[in-house]
Amino acid sequence: MVEAVQVQLKKGVLELCVLALLSSADAYGYEIASRLAKGIGMGEGTVYPLMRRMQADGLVETYLVESSAGPPRKYYKLTAAGRASFTAQKAEWSQFSLAVNEILGGSQ
């Protein structure tokens, strides 16, 4: 039960978390994956299909940066649409979590 609730919760905020990460700084796949894995326990393998989908939806775009060791790194950055989506989703989330917290607080 707890596990099912967690899956549902993560599902709703995964995209929002990626948008939030990228809104403060551009990042490459490994950074995003490890931050999300540490923060909300996402499977690291899930991040790449997610980035691909967000790229197809026009929320993020990629560019390559030469790295000192190995092949060039693929960085992700927010597009204008991604930034707008982040603002909207963040406001929605704040409102929603506030309402839920209020109800949870009242149940004690």
């Binding site: 599902k11 929002l16 796949g29 690291e44 393998g45 899930t46 790449y48 299909p49 997610l50």
Partner: protein, 191 residues
């Protein structure tokens, strides 16, 4: 599991995908291993954190098939969507298989019937007035037209039912994308 094993199983699992898409996906995971190593993690650690490569590949391939059906409604896309859902290999899909085959067979039968009636109507319309002696030409022409019209109706209904059938299957298949569901579905349509 080390990097080599993970990547081999992942690549094998992606077989059937467009080579370019498969290369890009594989490159993402290769880079992940490289960055993991740079961060001081062992290959086994990174592979464990990534998840089951077979399952990942299977769900990615399935989603590609389902997406294609949504983008282009044609028989070949429908076929690849059905294959994609079956490829997920969930046990209840296998139980469902006989029923699916029954429905698909019935739809195919209707399609053949519609085509046969259409052809018969066309023949009657064109050649009927010369063959059938004694009947008024107008009656034969109208009979031919009527037959073709009825055949078109049957064909149309069959097509609509077929599209609905594949859509239902796609919806059902999506329920089985356990691993990648949050990543592949736009947040707006997630329930």
């Amino acid at each position: 599991m080390n990097r080599q094993t993970f990547m081999n199983r992942f690549r094998n699992g992606l077989a059937g995908l467009a080579p370019k898409a498969a290369d890009e996906l594989a490159a993402d995971y290769e880079a992940h291993f490289a960055d993991g190593a740079a961060a001081g993690r062992s290959e086994t650690e990174v592979a464990d954190a990534l998840g089951d490569p077979d399952r990942l590949a299977r769900e990615l391939r399935a989603e590609t098939g389902l997406k294609r059906w949504e983008a282009e409604r044609n028989p070949s896309a429908a076929f690849s969507a059905v294959i994609a859902v079956l490829g997920l290999g969930a046990i209840d899909i296998l139980v469902l298989l006989p029923i699916l085959l029954g429905i698909a067979g019935a739809l195919f039968g209707f399609l053949i019937t519609a085509l046969a009636c259409l052809a018969a109507g066309a023949v009657l319309l064109v050649a009927g007035p010369f063959w059938v002696i004694g009947a008024p030409t107008a009656a034969i022409v109208l009979a031919g037209l009527g037959l073709m019209f009825a055949a078109s109706c049957v064909g149309l209904v069959t097509a609509i039912v077929s599209i609905g059938f594949v859509n239902a299957l796609v919806w059902y298949g999506r329920l089985h994308l356990t691993l990648l569901k949050p990543a592949l579905e736009p947040q707006g349509s997630a329930t």
